[in-house]
């Protein structure tokens, strides 16, 4: 396991060079996708990498707005990661947010649609972690557009929540990985919400369909923008990489454009 070949996504995220400290520590990762190409698989890959045995201190707090646990459990089991076992080991915390709805408008002002209490829940979960794991928590959100729906369209509440979570990344060194749908915002004149979120982001992963349409062996392309990417020599620079992918049940194949015919 230790010296397996790195895939292009791991490389682009800088996961290959070191596992301790965790390269994504303290970072905010945003995965963007669209109706034609779902970016869920990136989330699954990162979930698996985070919980893999190479980094035993990592903990994941998963806020699921779109699917029940059984969905993720089945997918991750095929990837070789047992979420139920991890949950019992105290490394995986699943928050089922499928039915979270913001209360009435009056209460909303005090409660912010339950997001404040959600934040407290997250913070308490992190506080309760053993000392070694405290600084290795990852918060994953699937997905942000549904959070907006849960907040009844008041994206300010979602933004507030994201800012709060962002303080966790800077204070405790947590990382924040979220999924969002890019095409919702492209038609807006001033997508303030999206711009604000992007301002927080350290790594942007974009999943898009190929311009040439559907193909059976290339499912789409990923663009990874890594701001503040530290290479081996320690100098910091921005890095952008682009590659194609094919999603399978037990893995994802990444390859450079043009290497498949």
């Amino acid at each position: 396991m230790e010296n397996r070949a790195l895939n292009l996504l791991d490389e682009a995220l800088g996961l290959g060079y070191q596992t301790d400290p965790w390269p994504l520590r303290g970072k905010v990762v945003l995965i963007e996708d669209c109706v034609e190409t779902s970016g869920c698989f990136v989330l699954h890959q990162l979930l698996k990498r985070t919980l893999s045995s190479q980094s035993p201190n990592n903990t994941v707090i998963f806020l699921a707005f779109s699917h029940p646990l059984s969905h993720y459990d089945r997918i991750l089991r095929k990837l070789g990661c047992n979420l139920v076992a991890q949950r019992e080991n105290g490394r995986f915390f699943f928050f089922d947010m499928l039915k979270l709805l913001c209360p009435d408008e009056k209460e909303e002002r005090n409660e912010k649609g339950g997001f404040i209490s959600l934040y407290w829940k997250i913070q308490n979960t992190i506080r309760a972690l053993p000392e070694n794991n405290k600084n290795h928590a990852t918060i994953m959100i699937d997905d942000m557009s549904l959070m907006e729906v849960a907040a009844h369209g008041s994206s300010d509440h979602v933004l507030d929540f994201m800012h709060y979570c962002h303080t966790l990344t800077s204070e405790l060194g947590c990382s924040l990985i979220t999924l969002n749908h890019e095409d919702i915002y492209t038609s807006m004149e001033r997508p303030a919400f999206m711009l604000q979120i992007k301002y927080l982001v350290d790594v942007l992963i974009k999943a898009e369909p190929l311009a040439t349409g559907l193909a059976a062996d290339v499912h789409g392309q990923l663009t990874v923008l890594n701001w503040g990417f530290c290479n081996v020599k320690g100098s910091s620079n921005n890095k952008m990489s682009n590659f194609h992918f094919k999603v399978k049940e037990n893995s994802v194949e990444y390859f450079c454009p043009g290497t498949r015919t």
Binding site: S70, A85, H152, P209, L214
Partner: protein, 384 residues
């Protein structure tokens, strides 16, 4: 829920989930999903088996044509024929009236009488069927009558085999005859719940009706006592007051989806995408597990007529944008995403891949740019 059980090994087999479903109208799918039929055999085939239980299907309507009703009617009829309760919501004043327009399954007796014609009639039928080819291509091809008859015979024996199989167990999917109305006893009982969304000020009433309806079908491990179907027609249509409550409706859809996930039911929502703002339209599309769109064929589009074979029989196009990905991360890639909707003998809905007619003088050059069919998949245009 299966997930609550402790499993030490990641690869242990979940035995309870493997047990075959007992109810007719359910089929095992991959990844622990179960399929119910859409009521159109071809659509089931395209989607890899049917609509997955617990999924939300959305159909984008053509603003100028009622083609979504074709899909909706067959979906509803299929459920009623299989004794499944139905919730139907529509912006019409009297939604129950719509039930009178549902198609009836063509009985196997009918099928037999259609197939077991006398020899002469069969000959006539062949001649009639192939007449168009004779008139079109008489110079190019001489159709061998014996081969045709042999083919016909094969078809009959296949059909009788099928009807034999169908007789021995209840069908997963029926062929619906659009010209025959569904018999009254299928929908006269308590099983059909109709809601008019015309005068409701917010989606709360519809939400409550859906919630009480879905509460009848809780999902517990692998056992099916009953399953339900929800059909919501033209949600957000201008005639209902809901049309300017974007966020309310979105949260209704979201909560419907989450309720479906834990129920043995499937829901279809049809909506007019042109009436939504582009960003909300995308939000709706992201909500869908299965996303389809229908489009009518523009009258007498001669360029398109030249481009496609069998153009005169088509009534519209069906686009498949998204296929349900429940319990899996692998997308299902179709060979084609655009299908023509044909009415076979004006009775049965048939979906076919588009066949491009040979164009004179062009050998394999870009057909995408000609005749108003752009090749880009994003614009939702035709692709071959």
């Amino acid at each position: 829920m299966a997930a609550t059980k402790t499993r030490i090994c990641s690869f242990s087999r979940n035995i309870s989930a493997v047990s075959a479903p007992q109810l007719p109208g359910i089929k095992c799918g991959p990844n622990g999903t179960f399929f119910v039929s859409s009521g159109i055999p071809d659509l089931d085939k395209i989607l890899g088996g049917g609509f997955a239980l617990g999924s939300l299907v959305m159909i984008m309507e053509d603003a100028e044509a009622p083609h979504h009703m074709l899909l909706l009617r067959n979906f509803m009829s299929q459920g009623l024929v299989q004794n499944q309760p139905l919730l139907y919501a529509s912006p019409a004043k009297d939604p129950r009236g719509f039930l009178g327009t549902l198609p009836c399954p063509s009985s196997s007796k009918d099928e037999k009488s259609r197939n077991h014609d006398t020899e002469q009639e069969k000959g006539l039928r062949i001649a009639w069927q192939y007449k168009k080819y004779f008139s079109e291509n008489i110079d190019d091809h001489k159709v061998n009558i014996i081969a045709v008859q042999w083919w016909e015979w094969m078809e009959i024996s296949l059909a009788s085999l099928h009807s034999y199989i169908a007789d021995s167990k209840q069908e997963f999917c029926n062929d619906f005859d659009l010209r025959k109305p569904l018999e009254r006893h299928y929908y006269s009982g308590q099983r059909v719940d109709c809601v008019s969304i015309k005068d409701s000020p917010n989606p709360a009433t519809l939400h409550d009706r859906c919630a009480t309806f879905l509460a009848q079908f809780p999902r517990n491990d692998g056992s099916f006592s009953c399953l339900g179907r929800i059909a919501i027609q033209s949600l957000c249509a201008p005639q209902c007051e809901l049309s300017n409550m974007d966020w309310d409706i979105l949260s209704f859809i979201r909560s419907l989806k989450s309720m479906l996930r834990s129920a043995n039911a499937v829901a279809i929502i049809t909506f007019p995408p042109s009436l939504l703002s582009p960003s909300f339209c995308k939000r709706w599309q992201h909500m869908a597990d299965v996303l389809l769109s229908v489009k009518a064929i523009p009258d007498e589009d001669k360029e398109l007529g030249k481009l496609l074979t069998g153009y005169q029989d088509m009534v519209g196009f069906l686009n498949v944008h998204k296929i349900a990905r429940i319990n899996t991360q692998v997308p299902m890639i179709l060979e084609a995403t655009t299908f023509s909707i044909k009415l076979q003998k004006r009775r049965f809905i048939v979906l076919e891949c588009l066949n491009q007619a040979p164009i004179d003088g062009s050998s394999g050059t870009s057909y995408g740019t000609s005749g108003g069919c752009s090749g880009s998949s994003k614009s939702g245009a035709l692709d071959f």
